[in-house]
């Protein structure tokens, strides 16, 4: 062999990156699957992280949805709310003057009052259950009810008729359509049922504005919120600005902004810390399991990695092998984990507790887990990169 032959061999060995890349990818998969116990252990680590994180986030999104559903489903484009309001819940009352001022503002199609107050329903055997009574304008029906599972909205036109939460029928003493009960000391009839309308607090119960005011003892010149829909083609920002000028004593907020305000407030003060902690805990535990498992796999196969280096594989080749394994662990673990979350969500979701795993979370999970597994493989990677190929002769 002379110098040109040597150069030719060096040139040939320098090429073939694609073939080498493919070969090392297959090798990575086979090495990963060979030690079945370690493979299963690592996948379970990812599954654990996926299930815990998604389940916690699913419950969090469910709780947030419970607290924003009135805003999302009321049918209003804009809300006129008491100053410093951070949630769509019973609270400060405002004058009906605001409603009239809103109705006269250009760009508005409809403006309706909404009454919202806490009261209770008496049970036949004694005792009572708290409810959140929502009085809606029957002309516009802004504010509900929605998710109706029995009865007709028109039933609310009867002066003493209410819509109750279907999931609470037993709790309210076994109510059925046209059952008679007592709310706020007044005799009422059950005109229909909604499903799943249970915020953090007592379940929503719907009545006409007049009935609601009567049941909670609210004067007719008071309301809690004004719900506004925009006229077709109206400039939302201009209408908001006009309403703020006309009604300086209240806040005017779009549906989207009100939704965000509620979510922000809940995450900042209440739910964020507890769910953030448990979600992070799941991810951290998963990270540790994957990191330790991959590291121990490398330690167990140190001689094999040394051999691979000796036969000419580069640190880049070995890095690619570990990255391929990371991606596969993440993909398999995410797939199984998301499947389990789906089953769990279907199993535990109820009118009281919604587990919402949005599409974006399903798509984001494998990406996050891939990043997490790659990060977890860094410890193993460091060991592999520092490995001297000469160790194969020792």
């Amino acid at each position: 062999m002379n110098a040109p032959d040597v150069q030719a061999r060096l040139r040939a060995a320098r090429g073939g990156r694609l073939t080498r890349g493919f070969a090392t990818t297959i090798l990575a998969v086979r090495m990963m699957l060979f030690d079945k116990a370690k493979f299963i252990g690592t996948v379970l680590g990812v599954v654990f992280a996926v299930v815990l994180a998604n389940q916690q986030l699913g419950i969090l999104f469910g709780l947030l949805q419970k607290n924003t559903m009135l805003v999302d489903n009321a049918g209003a484009d804009l809300w006129i709310v008491p100053p410093n309001t951070t949630s769509a819940a019973p609270g400060q009352r405002m004058s009906t003057q605001l409603l009239y001022q809103a109705q006269q503002t250009p760009g508005i199609a409809r403006a309706s009052a909404l009454v919202m107050a806490g009261t209770s329903i008496a049970k036949p055997g004694g005792g009572s259950e708290a409810i959140t009574l929502i009085g809606v304008d029957l002309e516009t029906m802004l504010g509900g009810p929605w998710n109706i599972v029995a009865g007709d909205r028109a039933n609310l036109r009867h002066v003493d008729t209410l819509f109750f939460e279907d999931a609470q029928r037993d709790k309210f003493g076994g109510i059925n359509l046209w059952s008679v009960r007592e709310v706020g000391g007044y005799r009422v009839r059950v005109g229909g049922f909604t499903w799943g309308l249970q915020p953090f607090g007592p379940p929503y119960t719907f009545a006409s504005l007049d009935t609601a005011r009567t049941l909670v003892g609210m004067p007719t010149d008071q309301l809690n919120f004004v719900l506004v829909t925009l006229a077709p083609g109206a400039d939302r920002a201009a209408v908001i600005a006009a309403l703020r000028t006309a009604i300086p004593t209240a806040d005017v907020i779009s549906r989207e902004d009100f939704h965000s305000l509620i979510v922000r407030n809940l995450l900042k003060d209440q739910l964020g810390v507890s769910f953030g902690t448990s979600t992070s805990f799941g991810l951290i535990i998963g990270f540790i399991i994957v990191a330790l498992s991959m590291f121990s796999s490398v330690i167990d196969n140190l001689r094999e990695f040394g051999t691979l280096k000796a036969i000419g594989l580069t640190n880049l080749d070995l890095t690619r092998m570990l990255m391929v394994q990371s991606v596969l662990y993440a993909a398999i673990g995410s797939l199984i984990g998301l499947g389990l979350v789906g089953f769990m969500a279907a199993g535990i979701s109820s009118a009281n507790l919604a587990v919402i795993v949005p599409h974006w979370l399903v798509l984001l999970t494998p990406c996050v887990m891939t990043g997490l597994c790659m990060l977890a493989s860094l410890l193993a990677l460091r060991r592999v990169r520092k490995l001297e190929p000469g160790m194969v002769f020792r």
Binding site: V6, A13, G15, R17, T19
Partner: protein, 243 residues
């Protein structure tokens, strides 16, 4: 035919596969420093089947590691087929290993998760041989070492002798011009050890590869074209100077 004889001398006109001059290797530093090679001059002619022998700790495996580019010398010059490797950066060494060197390790060092044929293919594909071609070549090599019927077995399903045959097939895959074998008989009984070394000699001769075998197994000495003794980091049978 090789350019040498077992008496130890190398033909001065022979083309060299390996040329080492003044090679030193020091492990550790300060008071803990240990000099494994103390200025080794060493030549191997192309096509030669050479054995490097010496007692434990004499530096033979260190020298083999330096020739195989898996260890760098502290000082001295080392060339493989005229290509200086001591001046190369560490990141270039995998390329030289892929291009020029095949290894037979003491403990076979096969990849446990791969079948015999895939162990051989891996080396070929690491050198860029296309997958279809690598499979045909690997199967042919395994047939050559008498393991055609065991080609889909994993190392754990093979005997020690069979594993060493796979290791030999892997070492000569792609016909590397230099094959380095570290104690190839250490894990085998006398018969299997002799058989494996004979096989290594045959397949390397067929491919024109130069072979350096590190061993202290005197039952295989008779197979060598030349035997070089190393002791305490020095070559005892110094090579003749080549122009």
């Amino acid at each position: 035919m090789s350019a040498t004889n077992t008496a130890g001398a190398i033909d001065p006109s022979a083309t060299l596969a390996v040329r080492a001059r003044g090679v030193r290797k020091v492990f550790g530093s300060g008071a803990l420093a240990y000099e494994a090679l103390r200025g080794v001059d060493f030549d191997v002619a192309q096509g030669e089947f050479m054995m490097l022998v010496g007692p434990s700790g004499s530096g033979k495996t260190t020298l083999l590691s330096i020739l195989g580019c898996v260890l760098t010398a502290t000082a001295g010059e080392v060339s493989l087929f005229g290509e200086r490797i001591d001046t190369r950066k560490e990141r270039d060494l995998p390329l030289i290993r892929r291009a020029l060197v095949g290894f037979v390790f003491q403990g076979h060092n096969l990849i446990a998760s791969l079948s015999a044929v895939d162990n051989v293919r891996l080396v070929l594909e690491a050198r860029g041989t296309p997958r279809r071609q690598s499979r045909a070549e690997a199967e042919e090599l395994l047939a050559r070492v008498g393991l055609a019927d065991k080609r889909w077995n994993r190392p754990g399903e093979l005997s020690g002798g069979q594993r060493q045959r796979v290791a030999i097939a892997r070492a000569v895959a792609g016909a590397p011009p230099l094959v380095l074998a570290d104690e190839p008989t250490a894990a085998l009984d006398a018969h299997a050890g002799l058989e494996a070394t004979e096989l290594l000699l045959e397949v390397c001769r067929e491919r024109g590869s130069t072979v350096v075998v590190v061993t202290h197994d005197n039952r295989i000495y008779h197979l060598a074209d030349r035997i070089v003794h190393i002791e305490d980091g020095h070559i005892i049978d110094a090579p003749q100077e080549t122009p």
